[in-house]
């Protein structure tokens, strides 16, 4: 069956109808090509596809993948396990806080997806999430509606923790400021470094302080923020070719492909140093030494494949990024194991010996 294409100029009613999905009940308009990107007369060519021809999946799985959900849920887990005996753990405060965070994450992810879809940014990157919109699983109109619902409920659920400890308002204000500075400024300048820094600070110190408003939380948040920053740089690294061709600026594309692995490695190494310092203050020395040893060995194995990369165009880069992700998950798994041991196993052992 022949494909149907429509080209519309941005800003026209026809374009708005197509991009939002309002133009038809039975069809989807999927952008396939942008002309004169960034100019006042930018045009987008859409392929018109029948909804029945689209293999739909549950769209929200893409927004809440394991990597993303760990961004917000691991800090909650960390503080819950660390303060195992605190009333905080079983209080409505924690339950509302978790629900509020998940819904906020969902709302932010949806908004980012909509913006990337409309700007055409999601077509530059080969591995940009589930591409819910560009695959036609949902329309902009539907996701805008979902965004409003999730944002509203995330605000409602966030009121409870705020009432419990009003000092959390500082975290909220800084987060809003970072969103403004990092996201808006970053998008308009095609400079993702600001956006990455803002995201790392939001998901790191701001989120930690929001969960447990104490000074110590900031130290944990700093280490966690570094890890988030590394995960974002890893994603940029995978898209190095596409991003440099599109002229996108971020920390990884600042340097040539031969030097980019060094930058990625430096981010990881710096994160490990911050983590080692933060954990040294709170971990048992044996656990600290053991986990650091495992991480250092794994890091150097990964470094070997990272530094030996030959091309941004081949499949090797995907394999190195996969190993980097495995390192990221191992790092978290070791931390989780330590927390469970400290909170649940160690007290029994201690009691048995005494």
């Amino acid at each position: 069956m022949a494909s149907q294409f429509i080209t519309a100029k941005k800003g026209t009613p026809e374009f708005d109808q197509l991009i939002t999905g309002h133009f038809s009940e039975t069809q989807r308009a999927l952008p396939v090509q942008n002309l004169r990107v960034g100019s006042s007369d930018e045009e987008v060519t859409f392929e018109i596809i029948k909804i029945q021809d689209i293999k739909q999946k549950f769209a929200y799985v893409g927004f809440l993948g394991p990597k993303k959900i760990l961004f917000v849920l691991f800090p909650v887990f960390y503080f819950s396990m660390r303060d195992w005996n605190q009333p905080f753990l079983l209080s409505p405060e924690l339950e509302c806080l978790i629900l509020g965070l998940i819904l906020s994450l969902l709302a932010v992810q949806i908004k980012v997806d909509i913006q990337d879809f409309i700007s055409g940014y999601d077509r530059i990157r080969s591995n940009k999430g589930q591409k819910v919109l560009s695959r036609g699983w949902k329309t902009v109109f539907q996701l805008e509606r979902d965004f409003k619902i999730f944002a509203l409920f995330s605000i409602l659920f966030s009121i409870v923790p705020l009432v419990y400890q009003p000092v959390r308002v500082f975290s909220l204000l800084v987060t809003l400021l970072l969103f403004y500075v990092g996201y808006k400024w970053g998008v308009s300048r095609r400079n993702r470094l600001n956006r990455d820094l803002a995201l790392a600070l939001i998901a790191g110190p701001c989120l930690s302080f929001w969960i447990l408003p104490q000074v110590y939380s900031l130290a944990f948040g700093l280490a966690w923020g570094f890890l988030i920053f590394f995960a974002l740089q890893l994603e940029h690294f995978q898209n190095y070719l596409a991003q440099t061709q599109a002229g996108e600026k971020n920390l990884i594309t600042l340097k040539s492909f031969d030097q980019a692995p060094q930058i990625l490695w430096a981010v990881w190494a710096l994160m490990l140093i911050v983590y080692a310092f933060v954990r040294f203050l709170t971990s048992h020395i044996a656990w600290w030494g053991g986990s650091m040893m495992i991480l250092i060995i794994m890091s150097f194995i990964w470094r070997k494949s990272l530094i030996g990369l030959k091309s941004p165009a081949g499949s090797e880069i995907d394999k190195v990024v996969l190993s980097g992700n495995q390192l990221y998950y191992t790092f978290i798994a070791l931390w989780v194991a330590e927390l469970i041991f400290q909170a649940l196993v160690a007290p029994f052992i201690f009691a048995w010996f005494s």
């Binding site: 080209t7 396939v32 392929e47 080969s126 070719l241 091309s311 165009a313 081949g314 499949s315």
Partner: protein
């Protein structure tokens, strides 16, 4: 079937002889007689090519009423760039044959092949800059740069049998499509027509033509529509998984993929893939993917109509059959 103004076999040899003669000398300084081997090397290289890109430039130029002398310059430019890339490419790949004859580096010497390629690119710049359109010179230099970037990236994925189609497309967009884009855009630049909407549409059209040409060329490797008699599995045996190879391998397990890329014959390849029927199904699926590009091309052609003057609409008629010629190889 189109009555092709492009590759009429009866007139082909006469046209090529005329084209070669016409292309070789634009300026009196082109190809000085005192350089040993250079003229022989040039004649060998150009005598067996189809000159398709030069014809494409001349078709577009004709409708725009570009003066004959300028048409000659543009045709020479595109053939010189293309052949310079072939000279270097053959040496990089250590290909012994080019169009069924010994490759230049093999027949003369690697040194002469490198120098001849450089010389062709230098003549391009000399002649174009003499013509005087700074935008045309700049654009041509950009295209040469893209072509080299494509070559460079392609070389970096040799022996990478897990490379995916999306990444290969990026390489082919630089390596193959850049010259097709040049063929469509340069006649407009030669007349100082720099309308950005027009050029971006031509750019997209050239990109699709380049992609289709490359993919069709890659299919020849698997003896699909291989009227030219190109050697079978040549790319794969030299360590390069081409676009069709990447397409069929994308859903295979690592083990099956590893077996597939070690195939020495097409029958072996088909057998590793699961038999003739599966192979034919994959070809059909690949054609369907490319058919969508062809439909997008025709959609863009309709947009191009509004950007041309009425007397230039003949360009559209000449552009119509290009996808048939370049992808389906129907002349």
């Amino acid at each position: 079937m189109y009555p092709s103004p492009w590759l009429d076999s009866k007139r082909k040899s006469t046209q090529i002889r005329f084209l070669v003669k016409n292309l070789k000398i634009y300026s009196e300084q082109d190809f000085p007689k005192y350089l040993p081997r250079l003229n022989l090397l040039f004649d060998d290289l150009f005598s067996s090519g189809k000159g398709f890109r030069a014809k494409l430039v001349q078709k577009v130029s004709g409708h725009l009423l570009v003066p004959d002398r300028t048409q000659q310059l543009l045709a020479q430019t595109v053939e010189f760039i293309h052949n310079a890339s072939l000279l270097h490419d053959d040496l990089i790949d250590r290909s012994i044959l080019r169009r069924g004859k010994p490759a230049a580096w093999n027949k003369y010497s690697p040194e002469y092949a490198v120098l001849a390629g450089d010389y062709l690119l230098a003549r391009v710049m000399v002649n174009l800059s003499t013509y005087g359109s700074i935008r045309l010179v700049q654009y041509t230099a950009e295209v040469i740069s893209e072509l080299l970037e494509g070559e460079w990236l392609q070389d970096s994925v040799i022996r990478d049998f897990d490379v995916n189609l999306e990444k290969l497309d990026r390489i082919h967009n630089l390596k193959t499509a850049s010259l097709f884009k040049w063929c469509l855009r340069s006649p407009f630049y030669s007349l100082e027509r720099q309308d950005s909407a027009l050029h971006e549409t031509l750019e997209k059209l050239g990109q699709i033509l380049g992609l289709l040409f490359q993919r069709s060329d890659d299919l020849l490797d698997y003896n699909i529509r291989n009227e030219e008699g190109k050697s079978i599995l040549g790319d794969l045996k030299s360590g390069y998984l081409n676009s069709f190879g990447a397409f069929v391998a994308q859903e295979l397990t690592a083990e099956k993929r590893s077996m597939l890329v070690k195939s020495q014959t097409l029958d072996e390849f088909k057998s590793h893939l699961g038999g003739d029927l599966i192979f034919d199904e994959k070809v059909k699926q690949f054609d369907q993917v490319n058919q969508k590009q062809i439909e997008l091309y025709h959609h863009l052609l309709s947009a191009l109509k509004d950007m041309l003057k009425p007397q230039e609409h003949g360009i559209l008629k000449d552009f119509e059959p290009l996808t048939e010629i370049l992808y389906w190889r129907r002349i």
